[in-house]
Symmetry: C2
Subunit: 647 residues, 2 copies
């Protein structure tokens, strides 16, 4: 039943050999890995305007230099990560790079930062997309939480079906958004040059507070805060460097090329939108509705034109699908962490469709909780964003600097040394720039909610370290020193019997067949009458195995047996007790209600008793003859059987 639903939703299981088939060409890799940085141009400009407006109308003119600074950082980060694609063809996320070059603590910090930020990407992108929708269709605004959660689940489902399908499904909105944005620039240019000019944005006449005559410190602080807000444009840039193995060959080259393409698209779109916003005097509305980008499209295309609505749809689509970047990055990172024993091993298993299903589900659950917890409020959510991104950027870049230093130690060829030096300079610049940005982001955002993201990172850090220590302890404990296994010195077998029926006789026969050093049948005297009847039948049949009767003053079956086992262990501490439990197996689940489930509870208790091996001897009810019970040699004969043969 559950299986059928799962098949309908997720599709047929795929064979492991098909893993290679799901590799991505560049034109599909772009929408899969880059919808996050590309889509963030839809709100990055708005975040700058929103922050600058706090200073008054006069500050809006500063948006151009702030946006230029953001674009510069974007270019630097893209250039830095291109080096990583070449240096780490098997996937060089911040975690791997810091682990190999900066040590465990740095790598766990990077991992914690990335995990938190992937969750934030899903929450922020989806909520922003839904805000875009509800700006167009105002009546849906009260259902923002439900719509957002629905989209998260849809994306998770698409990813559970597999990478290739999701690439195709997401290509159209991504390329649609890119194409329509460039079309908007063209139309705006054409109308300004040859036509009637473009009308100002609808918020142009909005009254703003007069510019305060503020101190230089306050102005700088405002500019830095605006810059930090605009840096949301950089989230998700590292996704490609993590996902190099998903590219077609030559993997590193294709990944670096896709990264460059993404950088070019992002910078031009971000610059163009900011330019248009300044020209059309667009201002960010306090509740984000209508968004700056929709005001621009409305002015350029006309507020009731088909193109305007198409552009709104594309904006919403790419914003929501940007979450997909995280759904590609998070499970891969979680799987790498699990392989390195920092997270539970289940995150390293590939599911039916060859994707890391558990990671996908975990991310979806975390994002849904965040969306519900923050009531799908984009302004509050965005405060938690990007601090993690720049943490991992910084660690990754400095890790790369160290990486190139090591390379230099083993390379003598001068031209190769020169190229390595160049790469190192790129990463060093990247590291310095991103660390400066990190300080700015932390300083300007920590009191507005970023502390929560920092706290989450610290918790993740501690949890991952503890998990690693736990696995190491277990590993040391179970490691065998070599040599071959040794036999237990003595095996004491007990067979649990309540009545003398076939299941019990089967268990008894099998126990005999295992040739224990000592064998006894054990029954618990829960009902005096039944116990007496069992004892009489036992003697009447002449069964030679002794029958031990355990008293049970509290009518509990488990306790007397566990006590008996512990007594046997005390008498012979080096020996082993094997407990044979005859068990009914019924074909239908509800039939279990008709049988005492004491065997099940007892097994759980015995599992926690040391030095005990539990043997289930099932008897299949309603499925006819049970094979060997009625045939074979008599068990009481007691002659030794031939020893185990290693066939």
């Amino acid at each position: 039943m559950f299986d059928i639903v799962k098949r309908l939703l997720v599709g047929r299981p795929l064979r492991s050999e098909r893993l290679g088939e799901t590799l991505l060409p560049k034109w599909l890799a772009l929408p899969v890995f880059c919808s996050d940085p590309i889509s963030s141009v839809a709100y990055a400009t708005e975040q700058i305007l929103l922050t600058l407006a706090l200073g008054g109308a006069g500050f809006l003119s500063l948006s151009a230099p702030v946006a230029a600074a953001v674009a510069l950082v974007l270019i630097i980060v893209v250039a830095s990560y291109r080096q990583t694609c070449y240096a780490y063809p098997s996937g060089g996320g911040a975690f791997v790079v810091s682990k190999e070059n900066l040590g465990e603590s740095a790598s766990l910090t990077a991992a914690a930062a990335l995990l938190v930020d992937y969750v934030m990407t899903v929450a922020v992108s989806v909520v922003a997309g839904v805000v875009a929708i509800t700006s167009a269709v105002r009546s849906w605004a009260p259902h923002a939480v439900a719509i957002s959660v629905g989209f998260v689940l849809l994306i998770a489902l698409a990813n559970l079906r597999g990478v290739k399908e999701s690439g195709k499904a997401f290509a159209i909105p991504t390329y649609g958004f890119i194409g329509l944005t460039y079309l908007m620039f063209l139309v705006a240019g054409a109308r300004a040059a040859f036509g009637d000019g473009v009308p100002p944005a609808e918020s142009a006449s909005q009254p703003l507070p007069a510019t305060v005559h503020a101190s230089t410190v306050a102005v700088v602080a405002l500019l830095l805060r605006a810059f930090a807000s605009g840096s949301t444009a950089l989230t998700g840039v590292e996704a490609i460097s993590n996902g190099v193995p998903a590219f077609r060959k030559p993997k590193s080259h294709n990944a670096a090329a896709t990264l460059a393409m993404m950088g070019a698209i992002s910078v031009t779109m971000f610059g163009g939108i900011t330019f248009l916003a300044i020209k059309l005097q667009a201002r960010a509305e306090p509740d984000g509705n209508p968004s700056v980008i929709s005001q621009l499209a409305s002015s350029v295309f006309g507020g009731t034109s088909a193109l305007f609505y198409l552009y709104q749809a594309a904006t919403a689509a790419i914003l929501i699908l940007a979450a997909n970047t995280a759904f590609n990055g998070f499970p891969v990172l979680a799987s790498i962490l699990a392989k390195n024993r920092y997270l539970p091993r289940q995150l390293h298993n590939r599911g039916d469709r060859l994707v890391f299903s558990n990671g996908i589900l975990l991310l979806a659950v975390a994002a849904v909780l965040l969306i519900i917890g923050f009531d799908a409020n984009i302004d509050r959510l965005i405060q938690l964003y990007i601090i993690g991104v720049f943490t991992s950027f910084t660690l990754s870049q400095f890790g790369m600097v160290r990486h190139w230093s090591r390379e230099l130690d083993s390379v003598d060829d001068p031209s190769r040394r020169r190229r390595i030096r160049a790469s190192q300079v790129v990463n060093a610049v990247g590291g310095v720039v991103t660390s400066v940005v990190l300080v700015i982001v932390f300083a300007t955002k920590v009191e507005h909610g970023a502390w929560l993201a920092v706290a989450a990172m610290i918790v993740l850090f501690v949890v991952m370290r503890s998990i690693s220590r736990y696995y190491q302890r277990v590993e040391a404990e179970v490691a065998s020193e070599g040599g071959t296994p040794t036999l237990p010195p003595r095996v004491h077998a007990i067979v649990l019997v309540s009545r003398l029926h076939k299941p019990a006789l089967r268990a008894l026969a099998f126990a005999k067949a295992t040739r224990p050093d000592q064998l006894e049948a054990v029954t618990v005297a829960a009902d005096e009458e039944e116990t007496r009847a069992l004892q009489q039948e036992w003697e009447g049949r002449g069964i030679q195995t002794p029958l031990i009767v355990l008293s049970s003053p509290y009518r509990d079956v488990g306790r007397p047996i566990v006590d008996h086992v512990n007594r046997l262990r005390r008498e012979d501490p080096r020996g082993l007790v094997s407990v044979f439990i005859p068990e009914y197996v019924v074909p239908r689940w509800w039939q279990n209600l008709l049988h005492n489930q004491s065997a099940f509870r007892l097994k759980a208790r015995l599992l926690f008793t040391r030095g005990v091996v539990v043997v289930n001897v099932p008897y299949h009810i309603g499925r006819g003859e049970q094979g060997w019970l009625t045939a074979g040699e008599p068990a009481e004969a007691g002659e030794p059987r031939k020893p185990a043969k290693a066939t």
Copy 2:
């Protein structure tokens, strides 16, 4: 944690020997078993008045003969059940009596009727009690459902703690209600004889429809319906005959005496209340609020007197506690049915406090569902009532007639024969009367909701028959023909291995120690790299047991192993496959999250594969040395060990 809460609520577990200590003296047995029939006088008169009022004001005068008829039936039924107490000292409920004398179908009908009626008793009594409370404190009326459910859970808890405590807790309200009712009669008589007279009831002036000039048939029908409604006074009379074993010795005599006492109390109270109601011209309000009995108390004691409020409290208390009768009867009956294999065996287990905990819980759940489903509406609930009671009365009485006939066959002494004849006549009269009442109840109530109770009885009947047939089938299947157990002809052992660590080596060593005919280690190639490493280490250590590698194209561990086992079974259908599973056991539950739970799922799958024995070889993580692993003889030596010794 769960354990602590359970202990706080239910108390310490009791030893089985203390079963005798919880026997009841007569003065405690009366409140435990008879609060139902005694409390029903609180609404039986009202039901008669309510029905007769449908015919108009003139019909109210007919309440005296109708009540007299009900009282007569009550006396006859009490007399009949006294015979049963003597004939069945080990508990002679309708089920046992019909089973021994009328056969299976009759007994199952009686049992189904009683089970349904016990549930109805709880629901109706508690809801009626809450109606009494909400009549006094009007503002609580909207919370009737919640209050009713709360009371059901409280009574269930009292019963889970044990019979004796509940006897004491319930004695005060029962004797309080009885005493205050007689006091009301005394005060009324005194005021009428020596004082100012008793004012009429507050509903005396209520306008009623004029008496319709109806046909004789309609008049008779109305009288019969009033009689059927008044018969609610008889519910629960059989509880004592079911509970004879709970009495102190001489059990039968004490039970019969208590029954007679109960009959005397019920008849006098029912008669007195009806007499008072007629004298004070009390009328049933359509919504039952204020109740007739509270109107009487208000007139006699004065509507604001302390005695009036005390009487209201006692009425509410005994009504709610009347449910306790069912909480004594239902679990015992369910346990008898379970012992006879008509219900799941769990209902026959005595819990920590020596009561049939599962039956108590089942009854509480059913009553709560009924109360919620019927929105605590007494008028709708009462329509489902008493049809079951009279079904079981009738079957029980005719069963007793047959019982005495059999006794006569084996008795020659004339005086004893005479006494048996007398008993038989009593039961025959009882049977005829109750069967006539049953027909009347069915005819007048079936369309007002009783069909639901009938349907429930039919379902229970069918379910119990099916359960019985199922147990019989299983019994026949597992019954052994005698003789001693035989050895399985061949045992093929496989040890599941994923890595060469201590848990796996332990499992391998133990598998060898069981001397199977064939032994192999099996690993699933879920991860190519790990599998290769395992194979190399296996060969490097020189382990002679062969290592079989199963391919797993879908990365699933369970399927390849089950397929492998089935292949072995096909090759040797009479042989047995024993699967040894090394298993991590961790001390804390959350540590399980850090280990793949594939062993658990695999065990469940193997349990449903035929001809397979599953052996769990647990390794306790974090609990130091595991005993025999590092010591003992080398397992590879292969010399035969001494055969099992029957110590």
